[in-house]
């Protein structure tokens, strides 16, 4: 799903890093968001709403609430704007988040 050749743009990707998605190892690049890395890996469903509807990102700029995931144990993280970091533990969020 990554664009390799583009007629106008050149993508200078950062260092390759790995993180876990629901326990499985996934690779992404430094400098991209969690949502971008997951999308490149073919993951579209990021959370399930209160009524159990599957949700992906929608705005990709942190405006809406469609992309909440659990990151390193923290709920309600907007992964469309959250930078990816080496070793992050990312999980699908179901319903409302928790703080303990």
């Amino acid at each position: 799903m990554r664009i390799e050749d583009h007629p106008v743009l050149e993508f200078k990707r950062g260092k390759k890093i790995s993180f876990t998605y629901n326990g499985e190892k996934v690779e992404g690049y430094e400098g991209e968001t969690i949502a971008a890395a997951l999308h490149a890996a073919g993951v579209q469903v990021l959370s399930y709403s209160d009524r159990h509807r599957p949700r992906g990102f929608y705005c990709a700029i942190g405006n809406c609430s469609s992309c909440f995931m659990e990151v390193n144990g923290e709920s309600n993280v907007k992964v469309c704007i959250e930078p990816l970091q080496e070793g992050m533990d990312v999980k699908t969020q179901k319903g409302k988040g928790e703080i303990v």
């Binding site: 664009i3 583009h6 106008v8 971008a36 509807r53 990102f57 705005c59 990709a60 700029i61 469309c80």
Partner: protein
């Protein structure tokens, strides 16, 4: 709490130009940008801009962004905060900001709000299914991060953004199955439409989405035709096998901060929704609060840049900076804006602005000009 002379909220084309123009006048500027990068939507624009040389016509948006960023960074009196979302504008003019997750307060003497616009959306069955994305999101994903949104796309909306993003999708190697628009006519520039059409992409006016189909993510979309009363025609359904639906049904000014602080607002449909009333020099109804760009009315990036420069100039004057050529510069910016808004395509903008403009005296009763 940090005291600043001028806070510019938003580092898109309007904000960058505002910061440059004020810095040039000698003002100490703090520029707060929500994203990790400056340039706003320019960063995603791979196409060449219209307009004239003064607004960098025939240069690609992404390169205009780079030019402006470079210029801003040359000024010692501009401090840039990236990854910094302004959270609140309070009545004592204190501004709270979240930067890299941290909470910061600043106390500016003057503020230029250039927060841009946000995308409108649509309601249809399963409109919240993963794979149904805003056009801006698709642009960010592919032009900032180099990730394809999917393989086959239905574009909803044939305004400039819908057309441009369709073109960009094709450049990224993604198939655009069709572009639909509920209106009887294509809303965007026709040259944009033609360059897509000649690549074999159907543009279906008077068509809209009936529903999205899919269990966990988008698997198909059903579109149907509308009659001249905008009612769907049963039996006209077409099912398209797409894994991405891109919603591009217009922009509306992102005006929350203006409401928070109590700027006078007016609904102007031609400008995308509620906009602040302002003088022709972009002073709002509140002393020392200026606006520029899409937040003042949705237009093209070229006008946003000129408005930014003008607002920067107005804020400098407000802060007491004497610029020799201020009248000349003002006239130049106003003339540029007039040019960009002249002609048949600018008709709507001109009508809208007429409703939002108030005299400088009325905009700012405390400050004689």
């Amino acid at each position: 709490m940090k005291n600043v002379e001028l806070l510019v909220i938003g580092g898109g084309p309007a904000g960058l130009c505002a910061a440059i123009s004020a810095a040039e006048a000698g003002v100490d500027v703090l520029l707060a940008e929500r994203d990790e990068w400056l340039g706003g939507q320019l960063v995603k624009q791979t196409h060449m801009f219209f307009g004239s040389e003064k607004q960098h016509a025939s240069v690609r948006g992404v390169d205009i962004g780079k030019l402006l960023v470079k210029k801003v960074e040359e000024y010692k009196n501009v401090e840039v905060m990236k990854n910094a979302t302004v959270l609140g504008l309070y009545e004592d003019r204190v501004v709270t900001i979240q930067q890299d997750g941290n909470y910061v307060k600043v106390n500016p003497k003057s503020v230029i709000i250039t927060t841009g616009a946000s995308e409108k959306t649509l309601v249809f069955p399963n409109n919240d299914l993963p794979g149904v994305y805003g056009a801006g999101a698709v642009q960010t994903l592919m032009n900032v991060y180099g990730v394809k949104p999917g393989n086959k796309v239905l574009m909803v909306g044939a305004g400039n953004i819908g057309l441009i993003v369709s073109y960009q999708l094709m450049q990224a190697g993604v198939d655009v199955e069709a572009i639909v628009d509920a209106s009887p006519n294509i809303g965007g520039y026709l040259v944009h439409a033609s360059k897509i059409r000649r690549m074999g992409v159907p543009i279906l006016t008077r068509h809209t989405v009936k529903e999205a189909i899919g269990k966990e993510a988008l698997e198909a979309a059903v579109i149907w035709e509308l009659d001249d009363k905008w009612q769907p025609i049963p039996g006209s359904e077409q099912k398209l096998d797409v894994d991405v639906m891109c919603i591009s049904v217009g922009l509306t000014p992102l005006s929350e901060l203006l409401w928070q602080i109590g700027c006078k607002m007016e609904f102007v449909g031609e400008l995308g929704g509620f906009v602040p009333t302002r003088s022709d020099k972009l002073q709002t109804s509140l002393d020392g609060i200026f606006v520029a760009g899409d937040v003042a009315g949705v237009e093209e990036a070229s006008s946003a840049m000129v408005e930014g420069s003008l607002a920067g100039l107005s804020a400098s004057s407000y802060l007491g900076y004497k610029i020799d050529v201020v009248k000349e510069l003002e006239r130049d910016y106003l003339n540029q804006l007039n040019d960009l808004r002249s002609g048949p395509v600018g008709e709507k903008i001109r009508q809208g602005l007429a409703k939002a403009l108030i005299s400088e005296q009325a905009a700012n009763p405390g400050q004689g000009s």
